[in-house]
């Protein structure tokens, strides 16, 4: 049986912890709002771009662009986006495990994989695993502020350069897509070569004017598309991270409260027991004097 003082100390510590988790929850909630808005604002742009691109690529199957071309099934690059900070439940572990599983199971049938990591937590997890080749790590890229487009653009250019020079045959993007505050969707997306979506045959009948020329328009839009995809993935990942952290901190605060009430009960019982014991001692002392 712990002493009264011990229990009191425990209660104090748990209360402190609860204070911290509650504060973190509030901070995450505020950040979540902002990043959620950013995700929503970015969606029309990336959706429109996809739309234009699918139409463009379908129409123009004659001319090949290096970013559209199916290469082979040699080495693939996996771009994994995780958070830099922890304390957000299973957020980072889940996505890192997913990446590991993706590489082990290899659904696309590539010969080899290399990893391009964005975020500290993914690196911490994967660098200790066997058979994971990490070519590049970006830590604290996003920071605690909002994701900016230039950050994503730089990443995109880096990836395109890697793709064009280092003989990767495919690039996959793995990230948490934001669904709601409570849930994130683990997403694997093929970034390169770009797979244009399906378009209705009907729409294709319309004659298009391309200026300056189809290939030039494609040449400008395709790399842009990679940047936009990354930008969106980063935004989604950040929003998901805050959501996950908020949920995790919420349940942590709840657990702390529960623990406090349990400890308080225990404390009161112990106090009662102590009082009773003291009374007994006094009474038995008085009895013996008689």
């Amino acid at each position: 049986m712990p002493s009264l003082k011990d229990i009191k100390k425990r209660i104090g510590t748990v209360k402190n912890t609860r204070q911290i988790t509650a504060a973190m929850k509030m901070v995450s909630a505020a950040k979540l709002r902002r990043s959620q808005d950013a995700v929503m604002a970015a969606r029309p742009y990336s959706d429109k771009m996809q739309e234009v691109l699918s139409r463009l690529a379908q129409r123009d199957s004659g001319e090949e662009h290096p970013l559209l071309e199916e290469r082979g099934k040699g080495k693939a690059l996996v771009v994994l986006i995780t958070a830099d900070r922890g304390l957000c439940g299973g957020f980072n572990t889940n996505i890192s495990k997913m990446a590991e599983k993706f590489i082990r199971e290899n659904p696309e049938g590539y010969e080899d994989f290399e990893l391009f990591l964005v975020g500290r937590k993914g690196n911490e997890y994967l660098k200790r695993r066997a058979g994971m080749k990490i070519v590049k790590v970006h830590e604290y890229l996003v920071g605690s502020t909002q994701v900016t487009y230039p950050t994503a653009a730089l990443l995109g250019q880096e990836i395109i350069e890697l793709y064009q020079s280092d003989d990767y045959d495919g690039v996959f993007l793995i990230y948490n897509a934001f669904q709601s505050v409570m849930s994130q969707e683990l997403t694997v997306r093929q970034l390169l070569p770009i797979k244009p979506g399906e378009v209705d045959e009907e729409e294709l009948v319309v004659d298009y004017i391309y200026e300056p020329s189809t290939s030039e328009v494609l040449g400008q839009i395709l790399p842009k598309n990679v940047e936009v995809q990354i930008f969106r993935a980063l935004l989604e990942a950040v929003a998901s991270e805050h959501g996950a952290r908020m949920t995790a901190m919420d349940s942590a605060s709840k657990n702390a409260s529960e623990m406090i009430s349990k400890l308080t009960l225990q404390y009161n019982r112990a106090r009662q027991a102590a009082i009773t014991r003291e009374l007994m001692e006094i009474i038995s002392g008085a009895e013996s004097i008689k």
Partner: protein, 136 residues
Amino acid sequence: MAEKLKLELVTPYKQVLSEEVDEVTAPGSIGEFGVLPGHTTLLTTLKIGELIYKQGNQSYYVALNWGYVEVEDDTMTVLVETAELADEIDLERAKAALGRAEEALKTIDPGDKRFRTMETALERALIRMQVAGHKS
């Protein structure tokens, strides 16, 4: 032929405009072009420049960064990296950026990779000032 043209201006940060307009003039990469309602389908890239759209007699000006435009079914979708409406532009900031770019261009060797970057910055600043000049 439709009376109006729907102009949608979208950047990665937000949907800037979604309006019914009468006429749009945009800075295409091979020259400025105008779009009226009933225009044929078109896809073209844009360069840094100013986009002008008209509603009735009123003209509005927007400073654009790199992007592209798609015209289809009387809807004109403009996808750009940044777009600033004339009222939003901070003239002081644009002037400062212009000064910085000019300074940098003097010192950097034209062969340098950064030269191109600074040139674009210069162009952007000039366009911003031009657009801001239209502010009523």
